[in-house]
Symmetry: C2
Subunit: 412 residues, 2 copies
């Protein structure tokens, strides 16, 4: 795209604004918490929590400013603003071919809190939830906070979910099969065949399917089908959790949603949330922002994906070229999750050495983050500009030898 055909006023250089305007590190040092810029020493580049360095869509900023002008921030409706619920339902239906209606959407104050709410609503103490191994720590944390027990089933980059192990994990205490699709940290999209197998098991054993699809719109070639899109019966058993922190950079606004397709199930979760007592819900202004992202943020979104695809290819290929590291490109997410192929070098060790020598912060593939199946990997989030990625890569490459060689003086 040439300079003479910008896509938007924010895109004078014709690249969606993602390359020409570097990320604003001054803002990030003040605003990006949760392991990132505001919580790191000044000389560290954080590729940690999965939260973009890049600003949100201009349409979101505009919607916030317009809504704020009237100065009225009265109590919103308990389940969410109609405009929010409609925008989410339209998005799921029209862009993801997933059954959804506004009445089946509940606004939540993040996808994370949605996971905790669903676990609290559906589990009795001792009930079991099948989760992937590895997978984002929130699945185990939310299950355990509700008194539930997790059963981990292997999920691999090459093969996806181990369906035989899934079948073996189901027992009379099982209540939920929890999917992370696309998968964090492998960035793999579940195949239609795997989803169909999950659906068949859920039907046979009368289980709920909890489908965390927060990454479903960060895809590079193929779309990510939802298990709920397979057929009506499984749609009614499926709770989809989604959010706006990954795709639109709105983590700080604390906005997510729960989609159900069974009024009794939706009512059960809603009642457990205490939203009707004003003790749970999402800020109206955050809902306005999220609805604007879905309704008016699509040109920005397409440019963001194009940018991320370039960063993904560049980053993964250079990491893959490092001796002792294998880094295939993910199908989805902006997470690189390379495998360490150096005997005796643990994820925690490599993470510590990357921080110490290269001053690059990553997340270790540690059991406390992802479960035991993550060991031997590190995770790098790459939703930043090319300059930041290049700076991080240059440091990692310059210090790689020290990072992979045992330091006799080090205690780590």
């Amino acid at each position: 795209m040439s300079r003479s055909t910008p896509r938007s006023p924010h895109d004078a250089a014709g690249d969606g604004g993602f390359e020409s305007r570097a990320v604003d590190r001054g803002i990030l040092r003040r605003r990006a918490f949760n392991l990132r810029w505001a919580e790191q020493p000044d000389d560290v580049i954080p590729l940690t929590a999965a939260d973009p360095d890049l600003p949100c869509p201009p349409a979101v900023r505009q919607a916030i400013v317009e809504y704020t002008a009237a100065g009225n921030f009265a109590y919103g409706p308990a389940a969410g603003l109609p405009a929010f619920r409609e925008a989410v339902a339209d998005h799921l239906q029209s862009r993801r071919q997933t059954p959804a209606s506004p009445a089946g959407i509940q606004a939540t104050d993040s996808a994370a809190s949605a996971l905790f709410l669903v676990a609290r609503a559906l589990l009795e103490p001792g009930d079991e939830v099948v989760i992937f191994d590895p997978v984002d720590f929130l699945f185990a944390a939310s299950t355990e906070a509700a008194g539930g027990v997790v059963r981990r089933v292997p999920f691999t980059r090459a093969g996806g979910l181990d369906l035989d192990r899934l079948r073996a994990a189901i027992n009379p205490r099982t209540r939920i099969i929890a999917l992370c699709n696309p998968h964090n940290p492998f960035g793999r999209i579940m195949s239609p065949a795997a989803l169909a197998a999950v659906a068949e098991l859920a039907e046979r054993h009368d289980l709920w399917v909890l489908s965390d699809e927060i990454w479903a719109d960060i895809v590079y070639e193929d779309p990510c089908p939802s298990v709920a899109a397979l057929q009506r019966a499984i749609s009614r058993r499926t709770i989809i959790v989604g959010g706006f922190s990954k795709t639109y950079g709105l983590a700080g606004l604390r906005i997510g949603y729960i989609r159900t397709d069974d009024p009794a199930l939706g009512e059960r979760i809603f009642a457990c949330s205490h939203a009707e007592k004003t003790a749970f819900g999402a800020a109206t202004l955050s809902q306005i922002a999220a609805a604007a992202a879905l309704r008016h943020g699509q040109p920005w979104y397409r440019a963001f994906i194009a940018h991320l695809r370039g960063v993904r290819d560049h980053l993964c290929d250079r990491l893959d070229a490092l001796p002792g590291l294998r880094c295939p490109r993910p199908q989805a997410t902006y997470l690189a999750f390379p495998r360490i192929e150096i005997p005796g070098l643990s994820a925690e060790q490599l993470t510590e050495r990357l921080l110490r020598h290269a001053r690059v912060a990553v997340v270790p593939g540690a059991a406390r983050w992802f479960g035991p199946g993550a060991e031997g990997h590190i995770r790098l989030a790459f939703a930043t500009d090319r300059a930041t990625v290049d700076a991080a890569l240059a440091r990692v490459e310059a210090h790689w030898d020290r990072c992979i060689t045992a330091d006799p003086a080090a205690t780590a």
Copy 2:
């Protein structure tokens, strides 16, 4: 104040903007939910949920717009932005003479969710909480959601808390004395002597004091002292819950806080919140708005109180003049809570007839809202403009005879 000395650009008529600009009913019909304008038939005036019809301080709008300009809404810190925690601590210290430090402030997504969190953090199933009767329904709801049991102690308009009954209510299962100070629905401020008696009991029986002070800044003559300001020992036992929906009209932004003065207690509540896992907290933009209200909203706040004082006097005196209704002016809050002195006329009946005949919605002094001690009262929230109050009063006065006379055809 003359037209030639406006207080602010929003105050051309010199009245703080609270009289010259009527409330915007168009906005309220779209935005004010929770029993209010957006949920009522078009011809009904709602004096229901305690949420202002009036717009928030201009300084809040300005802070939101300024923060939004950078377009970065990254994850905030789990316990709250430093600017928010500092603003709240400064406010409690400097304006309310209450011990507070930024480290002891946790941002919550409303005062209501703060109450639920504190109950969950401090109660085991079967533990007891002493609450007032009547009092806002959230005390019982949050206790029961945590598996706790409430013991109600009478609180009257004339006498405040019944200290003998409080002493009698404490037993080995008691964990918390929960104060609502100022009191919703009576608008009474607890006396220093009553607070000292509560503190003495809490010390003697090793109890927590949960002090809901969300109304503490809506006061007309005397300030509202916090129980935590009495002395250091009781400060350490006291959890103060506050918010921004009553004073600054920010209910829709879902922003409140918990103040503790004991690091172990604060840590216990914080851990229970799952904020560190990103599953709980307040939107950063809402924290920015709330901090701006405390830092820069004080001229607006003073004008708001002056306006409310006039509305209070006017409304209460006219209600008090109705035959069969006694309506003293509250010391605090923008809640009128008149007593019905007509034998056989219940709060639910009067509420229903006011809606049917006068098309004015109020909240009945029903057990489900406030506990059994509220029976025989109705609650009217008056944080609106004078024109709306006058319109409601004119309707109530015009239809009062029908409202207090049994209608043989009615089933109510």
